[in-house]
Every structure is written in C-alpha cells, then in structure tokens.
Amino acid sequence: MKRHLLGLCLALLLALPAAAQDRFASALAGLGEGFGQTAEVAERLGALGDPRAIPLLRALQDGTLRRTPAGAVLLPNGTDAATGQPADATGAEPVRINNRVRQVLRGALGRLQLISPDPAERLAAAEAVFRSPAPENVPLLQSALTQEREARIRAQLELALAASQLRADDAAAKRDAVARLGTAATTEARALLIEARAANPEIATAIDVSIAAIEQRLALRRVVETLFQGLSLGSVLLLAALGLAVTFGVMGVINMAHGEFVMLGAYATFVVQELCRGIPWLAPWSLPLAVPAAFLVTALAGAVLERGLIRHLYGRPLETLLMTFGVGMILQQAVRLAFGAQNREVVSPSWMQGTLMFPGGIAMTQNRLWIIVFGIFVLLLVVAAIRFTRFGLEMRAVVQNRRIAATMGIRTGRVDAMTFAFGSGLAGLAGVALSQIDNVSPNLGTGYIIDSFMVVVFGGVGSLAGTLVGALTLGVVNKVLEPYAGAVLAKVCVLVAIMLFIQRRPKGLFALKGRAAES
C-alpha cells in the first residue's frame, strides 16, 4: 500500500512540470488576436506565477513579441514561447498593445516580480501592484511582505497591500487598510480612498479621516512645490536678465538684440551637440561642453556689435534701440537661413530627465533643478568677475568716471567692448539653459526680451542684487497666481503690479545711491 502511494506521488511529481507546461502554453491562447484577448492572456499569465512569463510579458511591453500566422508566439530571440524551441519566423508580425493592455501588463509583471532577487525590480513591482489593486493580490503581497527586508520596499508593499485589501471583502482588513493609506500622503492613495468611499458607506467616516490627513500633508507639499516652480521660473528669468543687467544696467545700452544673443547660445548648444554626436563617449557631455562654446560665440558676436555699431551711438539711446532692434531681426533671419525655419531638437542628457523625489513625497523635475543650480553658478560667476578680477575693477572704474579712468591709463574703449561682450556671453549661457526647456527656434529670444527688461527695471538698474531678487520675486509671484488666474492672466497681473510699483519707486527695488546714480 505504502509503496503504491509512493509510486503515485512520484508519478505526480513527474507529471507536474508537464502539466505546468500545458497550463502555460494554453494560457497563451488568444494572444495577439485583439487587444481584449491579449489583455486576458496577460492577466492569466500574471495569475499563473510561472517565471517563464516574465521575458514574454516584457517583450510584449516593448513591442518585440511576435506572432506567426499559425498562432505561435515568438520571443525576441526567435524561440517559441510555449515550447522553448527555435521556431520558424516566416510571416511573424509584432503583437500590438494599447493602453488597456499596458495597464494589465504592468500589474501582471508586478505580481510576477514581487520576489525578484533584484531590489530595484521588487520596488518597481510593488509600485505596479499598488497601481492595479485587486483582491487576489492580497495573499501574494502578504507572502512577499514576510520575506522582504528592505524598509523602502516594505513600505511600498504595505501600501499595495492596503490598496488591494480595500477591494477585498474582509471588513477588518479594510478598516486597517484605510488607516494605513491615510499615512501615505500621495494623490494616488487619496484617489483610491475617494473611490472606496462610494462603495463602502459603512466606513465612510474612517475614510474621511484618512482623506483629511492626506490633504493636510498634500497642502504642505503643494506650497513647497509651488515655491520650487517659482524659483525655477525665477532662475530662468535671472539667467535671461543677467546679461542685460551688465549691458543695460552697467553700460546703459538698450540692447534689443539681447534675446537674439540668447537664441544664438541655444543654437551653439545645438551645434555642439551635433558635433559630439559622432563620438559616443563625448555625446552625454555635450551640454557641459556647450557652456563655454555658447559663451564664446555670443561674446564674440557682442564684441563685434559693440565695436562695429554701438560705440558710434553712445549717448543716443533712441538710435541704439532702433539699431539693435534691426540687428536682432537680421540675426533671426540669418539663423533661419542657416538652420531652417524648423525647430531644432536639443536632446536632454539622461541626468536631466525625470523627477527627483525628496523626503515627504516632494517631487522636483531634474531639468528645472539643474537650471536653478546653473543660475546660481552664473550669478556667482558674474559677482566674482566684477568684484575680484582686474577686468571687473576697470569696468567699475569706467562706469563711475570715464575720464578719470582714462587718465589712469585704462583703455576705456577696450573695457566697453569687453563689458558688452561679457554681457552678451551671459545671454549665450541663458541660451544653453533655455535649450533644455524651450524650443530652439529662430524666434526663441523674442519671448524673453520683455521679461528680461522687466526684471532689470524692477530690480533696480545697475544692481546685481536687484536683478536676483527681482527675478525670483517675479517667478514666485507668477507661479502663486497661476492656479487662480490661469497662465495668461497671471502674467497680466504681474505686469500691472510692476507698473504700479515703478510709479511709486521709479528706480526699482535696489536703487543706486550717491553721485554715480545722479549722473
């Protein structure tokens, strides 16, 4: 008898892989016959728990899974997914998916990868399962939780478990889940709770408490994020205005071609990127390389403009304004002829893409973060150049009293050219930054010239601190107003506010005092 049982067990054990094979192969039926069927297959594979499904589902996600006219499913390496044998690929077409399939796929892959050896994969899996909650996930998540050691993944698993328990029938677990989701403070958790509120009137008050807790923390986060957005807009304004703070603020030249210098900087970035494209190890670093390149190109253009035209018009602001306006138009059309009217694509390096998460769930986009850092860098550069270099000393001397500076042996003409070139080079640096957030097109600069003048006038002509404070104030005020007034009206409000402010204080926030200001 005993021996019989043993024999039966053995036979069963031997038969098991074959049965699993069958289940896996039969689960594939219908794949690629329509989005609905493909989604069902993905669902089945996720529930089956067979690790062979992972490469298959990944291939489906990437669009590299193919299906032959006979119905065989081919993995990217050319083997038949059901048998594992190499197969005939004639006439095979990629299996197409839509958003619904993508959604199911994410959940299915998540379920399968909850016990992956790679922690990054487990974390992604926990997130994926959180986003596709279902009652049948509960035992799966509970067993994953017993094995998990890493706190970060555990936290995400707990959330996923809570989300799934909210959908299950266990009333006690549901109450517990509501409380746990209340500590999550994410918009996703709130969305789940709001959804659950309608279906579970008996625990509505508990849900309301959790929602209120989430909202409180979200409100705080919103303040931080608005501030970040304001700082990021402010740093863009600062970058665009710094060059003008030098040419207009220090030299008093109304340079309407300033925006076009910004545009030239962006095109210089594009050219550097194209040059680096051929050299693979250099390609990711094209943006840092573009910084000096853009500075040199626009500084040179500025020097040529100053020596060739502007110096003949010192003391005649109206003519300078008209002439630089014309130069701006010429530059725009020249770029349009050289590069075409179509926008040029400047690729963001991977370290500038995506979002950086901070504690407390505060999210900041990387490109904006880098632009803030770059803005601070350029500001320090300007301060250092003016305070601590010989060129800065001469520049200040010429501005304060040209004739005495000249009698001291300073070549004022050369200093003028260098100052203007410096200011133009700063515009080029702004162009590098703008190439990451705006379209690189011939009329890139026109959108920033008004803002730049606004910042400089508001902050106080000739004051770097004024430019900094002016730019940041305008950025933050704009972003605080935007949710209430909309993008267009917010800008109008800011303009009106500045007009009123200038009426009260014509010299801006930081007015220069003393004799230099009088002249």
């Binding site: 989005f35 958003n99 918009t187 709130r190 926008n343 995506g354």
Partner: protein, 416 residues
C-alpha cells in the same frame, strides 16, 4: 521623356487600376493644343510662423499638378500651378486670394491652414465666385458655397476621440482635462466637447479647462495641476488642442513628471507625424492622437500615396500626414468633378463635386456631401517609439460630417 517619368507613370497606372477611379488613363495622350492651361492657385504660407506646416501642403499641390499632367491633364488641358505666399499674415491672405482670382484668374485654389486665415479669405471667394479647397481639421460652424472642406469636422475627430477615452479600451475616463492654445479653434472645440460630455453625464466639476498662449513653454504648473486633478478619484484623461511648437515643451514636461499613458492618457488633435519629428517620443509611447489618416495606415492606396510623395520630394524618409492626405483627396475629387462637368467653370463644378467618391489613402471610400464636407473614417493612434502611430481604434465606416455641431445650443434651429 526621361526614364524616371516612365517609371512614375507605370506606378500611377497601377494606382489607377487599384483604386478603380473613373478617371481612366487615356490610351493616347491628347495634344495640349486643345485649350489654355487650367490654373490651380496655391494659397499656403511659405514664410512666417505657419510655414513649418503649410510648406508641405504647397508641395503636395505641386505634386498633384505634376501627377495630373503626367496623366494627360484634365479635359485634355494642361494644369498650371500659381503659387503665392500670404506669409502667415491673415489680412494678406485676403489680398493674395483676390490676386489669384482677379489677376491670375485661377480655376480652383487649394489653401489655408489656420481657421483665422480661412475666415479672412471667405468673403473674397464668395464675392468673386471662386472655389477653395480647405484641407485641415477645424471647429466647424461654417458652410460657404464657395469652399469645400476636406478636413474633419468636430464629429469626425474630437467627439469620437473623447468617446474612445470613455470606452473600455480607452481606459474608461470619467474626468476630462481640456488643454488648449488660446484662439478660436480650441475654444470652439472645447465648447462642443463640454456640451458632449455634459450630455454623457459628466458634470462640470469633472472637467478642467485651461488655455495658454501660442508658444507657451513653462508647463510645470499646469501639468502639476493636471496630476492633482487626476488624484481626486476617478480615471482622468487629457484632451489637447495645443497647437504649434508649444507641444514640444508640453510633452517634455509630461515625460519628466512621469505621467504615463496608462495612467493619464493624453489625446491630441493637432499633433501628427510632422510635429512628432521634432520630439523624443520614447517617454510618450501610448499617448494618443485622433485623425482621419495616419502614415501607418495599411493598404495599397496609402502605399501609392506615400510612394508618390517620397518620389516627388526626393526623400525616402519624409513623412506624410492628415492635411496632406486631405489635400490629395480634394484634388482628386476636383479632377473627377471637372471631368464630369466637362468644364472648369465654378458654377458647374460645384454641383458636380457633390456625391464624388474616392477611395482615399486612409483606405476608406470618402464621399463629398451636400454640406461641402467629406465623409471620413475616424482613426485613433498611439504614439510609438519611432514617431509613427499605432492605430488602436477606427470607425467601421466613413462618418458623415456634421459641420453644425448638435452640442452648440444655437444650432438647434438649423436644418440638419
């Protein structure tokens, strides 16, 4: 006769038979002497902000003129294109239209992209009894006896797209974000969409509507607000009528803030193959666009159309798009109508155009309706990593255009 012309003609012979068009290839090429050339006006901006989009349409009309001449012309007469440049300047559109009609005495005109340019030339075409083919999807609410509209009306693009978002396959959206550029087309379209959504039981509290100026680049606040709106429960989708190059920073921000198509899908009405050519599409896979034609449509008519275009433009990588297909379809229908009327006189060609049929490159038979609009299929495509569209939904048949939307209350007493 150069060898290239011969191969093109051979290819076109195949096209002719594949489409079974009534326009049979003449066995013997008639002499040109039978009359003065027929003049075809081209009224597209070749400079200024719209040049990016409209230049391709000018090239499409020129391609069709060359194609028609290779077929032996129309009514045995040669076609001759007259190209003018209204320079993205709306009043200049009216002046140039007058020049085409009065100085050059064109028999037909193909032109305009923005609704404002069409509104500007409309009185000129009505006064001088001209004939204009307008090839771009628009907001409807117009029906001129002198204009034929070969792009989509709202019920052929906007409404089916939103219906798709609300369907099982589209993700059962219950909350809709309407984002648009601040001018007449997005505002009118969104007004129609709001009426439609209300009729489907979606309350105004579940609709978010925002407008931005042309060329807007700072999308961080708006995208963050969309995310927040989506976090208030219920599945959310974005309907974008953002026009022009503001789309590039918009999609970049969507990618950076991690908005995935499977969570918050975004369907666009003004983003096609040409617009995607300047964007890194990898983070956008799964976001949608609604059109009546995609370059990825399978079938012989589209293969022929693509071949014709890429041969003409001498670039095997150039993309085709919906307004180009609409220009092509309008041109072919006009040729058929002239053939039927036996004259190019507008008074005779206009009635002959009604009821003209053509299997367009989109693979469906389209018909010119009495309201001067086409019946067109509606296609919804998902962005792929290569910048093309994967068609995920289409109407079984061509849909008849309703240029007077039933979702605008003032249209209730119009004939339908």
């Amino acid at each position: 006769m150069s060898p290239t012309t011969l191969t093109r003609r051979a290819a076109l012979a195949g096209l002719g038979s594949a489409l079974a068009v009534p326009l049979a290839l003449p066995a013997i090429r008639p002499a040109w002497a039978q009359g003065a050339p027929i003049k075809v006006g081209v009224l597209h901006s070749l400079s200024g902000t719209m040049a990016i989009s409209e230049t391709a349409l000018r090239d499409t009309v020129l391609m069709m003129v060359e194609w028609a001449n290779a077929q032996g012309g129309v009514l045995g007469r040669k076609l001759e294109a007259v190209v003018v440049d209204p320079a993205s300047n709306w009043p200049l559109f009216a002046e140039k239209a007058r020049e085409l009609l009065q100085v050059h005495k064109v028999d037909v005109t193909f032109g305009c992209w923005t609704s404002v340019s069409r509104k500007s030339v409309l009185p000129v075409f009505e006064e001088l009894k001209g004939l204009l083919f307008y090839p771009v999807q628009y907001e409807g609410e117009e029906e001129s006896p002198n204009i034929f509209y070969t792009g989509a009306a709202p019920n052929q693009q906007a409404i089916p797209a939103v219906e798709y978002l609300m369907s099982d396959d589209g993700g059962e959206a219950k909350r809709i974000v309407l984002l648009g550029t601040d001018y007449v087309y997005p505002r009118t379209t969104n007004r129609i969409l709001r009426g439609f959504l209300n009729s489907k039981g979606i309350a105004n509290a579940d609709i978010m509507e925002e407008y931005t100026p042309f060329g807007h680049s700072d999308w961080q606040g708006i995208v963050a607000r969309v995310k927040r709106f989506a976090g208030e429960g219920k599945k959310t989708a974005i309907v974008s009528t953002i026009n022009g190059d503001a789309n590039v920073p918009f999609y970049r921000e969507l990618g950076n803030q991690g908005i995935k198509a499977e969570d918050i899908p975004c369907v666009a009405f003004s983003v096609g193959e040409e617009e995607l050519a300047g964007i890194d599409t990898k983070p956008l896979v799964g976001h949608l666009a609604a059109w009546n034609y995609f370059m990825s449509v399978p079938g012989a008519p589209n293969e022929e159309f693509k071949k014709l275009w890429q041969t003409y433009i001498k670039n095997p990588k150039r993309v085709t798009n919906d307004p180009m297909e609409a220009t092509y379809t309008g041109f072919r229908m006009w040729m058929q109508a002239v053939q039927k009327a036996g004259t190019t006189a507008v008074a005779q060609v206009t009635p002959a155009l009604i009821g003209q049929k053509l299997t367009a490159p989109c693979g469906y038979e389209e018909e010119m309706l009495p309201n001067h609009h086409l019946s067109k299929p509606v296609l919804i495509g998902e962005v792929q990593a290569d910048g093309q569209f994967n068609i995920v939904w289409k109407t079984p048949n061509a849909v008849k255009a309703e240029n007077w939307s039933q979702f605008i209350p003032e249209n209730a007493n119009r004939r339908r």
